[in-house]
């Protein structure tokens, strides 16, 4: 079972296309959705793959010495503080002899790679499950065009209720969320910027709303957690202020409607180089989660699942709890701030910022 759980936010910095493949819908290439709510989601397997890739891309191969090294950057700096010997060569006992571990081409592997294998599961060879699991990313806040104040973040009681439950799993139960959300339908924070005479106009729909002190507190809480006020995050001050004011809690049904019909639909074509016109049959539509959509997922750590103690490398702990803690620490300190998730990487889609709940 999982010993340690951490919640982290996924903030879309550019439109996001976690594709579900073809579907018999209105859009040719729709995004992934939960079966029974139609809420957008990101499948855990895709998320895990992206995070693993982000970890692996911190490596560089020193061709002269035939040895892997870690890049020299801020993230690795953080990681090295927690795991000092992470760059040492990965040695393993084979037939009673201690040998250096190498890849197929004879390049020496380092303990960092052993940790990746232990955390995410090995790519080949001795099979065991990874020590870190992820849940499907769930929607928390969805941006919608507003007649006043450019856009508003919307959410609903059901989403907030789930968020609270997931925080409880991670053993974080903030007082700010110890509320019955169902009474908060059609409310927004005090001194909001998007209200016009007790109405908000989202897309082309008008909602009768009221200001609520409780909603103010929720908005402040979320804004503090998603855009924390630290020196490194200073650029997000504008967003922090915006989220404090421009949040609307809609009814569950209204929220569902918006996440179904207010995603970005982009028409794409392929141009035939010779004729300069659309190639035959090459016209299709794609669905995107708009930028500034905020999702979250849980990272759940268990002890390292290998038999031999020495194969645990830098993640070895005295108790299962300590090991799980180290696994989470490795994820937390080594995860780059910005990842790429979903399709169309080369046209700048899918850049997300990861913010661990603290």
């Amino acid at each position: 079972m999982f010993k340690k759980i951490k919640l982290f936010f996924i903030i879309a910095e550019t439109p996001l296309h976690p594709g579900s493949g073809g579907e018999l819908g209105l859009v040719d290439l729709p995004i992934q959705r939960e079966r029974y709510t139609d809420f957008p989601k990101i499948e855990a397997s895709g998320l895990k793959g992206c995070i693993r890739e982000a970890f692996e891309s911190q490596l560089t191969l020193d061709k002269q010495n035939k040895q892997y090294r870690l890049l020299n950057n801020e993230v690795i700096g953080c990681l090295k503080k927690e795991f000092k010997n992470i760059e040492e060569i990965w040695r393993e006992k084979k037939n009673g002899k201690e040998v250096e571990n190498t890849d197929r081409d004879g390049n020496k592997l380092i303990l960092y790679q052993q940790a990746i294998n232990n955390i995410f599961g090995p790519e080949d060879g001795e099979a065991h499950a990874g020590a870190l699991a992820f849940t499907d990313a769930r929607i928390l806040l969805f941006p919608v065009k507003s007649l006043k104040g450019v856009f508003a973040w919307i959410t609903c009681p059901m989403v907030l209720e789930r968020f609270k439950e997931d925080l409880r799993l991670a053993r974080e139960i903030p007082n700010e969320l110890n509320i019955d959300f169902s009474t908060l339908e059609n409310t927004l924070p005090q001194q909001t910027n998007i209200c016009i005479e007790s109405k908000v106009v989202l897309e082309e729909y008008t909602f009768e709303v009221r200001e609520s002190e409780t909603t103010s507190k929720i908005a402040e809480f979320l804004s503090e957690k998603i855009f924390p006020d630290t020196n490194t995050n200073a650029p997000y001050k504008f967003w922090r202020k915006k989220l404090e004011k421009d949040l609307v809690i809609l009814s569950n049904d209204d929220f569902t409607q918006f996440v179904k019909t207010s995603t970005e639909i982009i028409t794409r074509t392929k141009i035939d180089n010779k004729t300069g016109t659309v190639a035959s049959g090459a016209l299709w539509t794609e669905e995107y989660l708009p930028q500034d959509t905020i999702l979250y997922s849980l990272a759940m750590a268990s002890p390292v699942r290998v038999e031999k103690e020495e194969a645990k490398g830098v993640l070895k702990g005295n108790t299962p709890e300590e090991e799980a803690k180290k696994v989470l620490e490795f994820f937390e300190s080594g995860c780059p701030e910005v990842l790429q998730i979903g399709g169309n990487q080369t046209i700048g889609k899918g850049l997300v910022r990861i913010q661990i709940f603290k």
């Binding site: 729909y205 008008t206 970005e264």
Partner: protein, 139 residues
């Protein structure tokens, strides 16, 4: 129980049947005019994403503006009106006495407007599928 079941089946089946008839009608109306048939198909494919990105009111206004006597947009507009007046819709339908679809749509309140949007999108999904299947592509 049986009643409930038949209600649920009726929903999608009713829409599907209605959409099928609409495409047949289009083929009949534009018999021998393959250009118009092709237009019908391509408009039917285009309209759903227009609704999603511009809203229903805007889209219907556009379709109405493009309607000319006996062209494909005209037929689609007429068919959408008929569908909204039929008994295949859930939650909301258009009164027989109402004259114009877009006029009725923009007079509705926010909630009804959203129901209509959902309803028309659900119908268009079938229409699009049948149009793709029944109207042949010529080379």
């Amino acid at each position: 129980m049986a009643e409930k079941e038949s209600f649920i089946t009726k929903l999608e089946k009713g829409r599907a049947e209605f959409a099928y008839r609409c495409v047949e009608e289009a083929k009949q109306t534009f018999q021998g005019e393959s250009k118009k048939q092709k237009e019908y198909k391509s408009y039917v494919k285009k309209i759903p994403s227009m609704v999603l990105s511009n809203g229903l009111g805007q889209t219907l206004a556009f379709v109405k503006a493009k309607s000319k006597k006996e062209n494909a947009y005209d037929l689609i507009y007429k068919q959408l009106t008929e569908y909204m007046k039929s008994n295949h819709t859930t939650r909301i339908s258009m009164q027989q006495s109402e004259a114009d679809l877009v006029k009725w749509v923009i007079s509705c309140n926010s909630q009804d407007y959203r129901y209509i949007t959902q309803e028309i999108l659900a119908f268009l999904q079938w229409l699009k599928r049948f149009a793709e299947g029944l109207i042949e592509e010529e080379e």
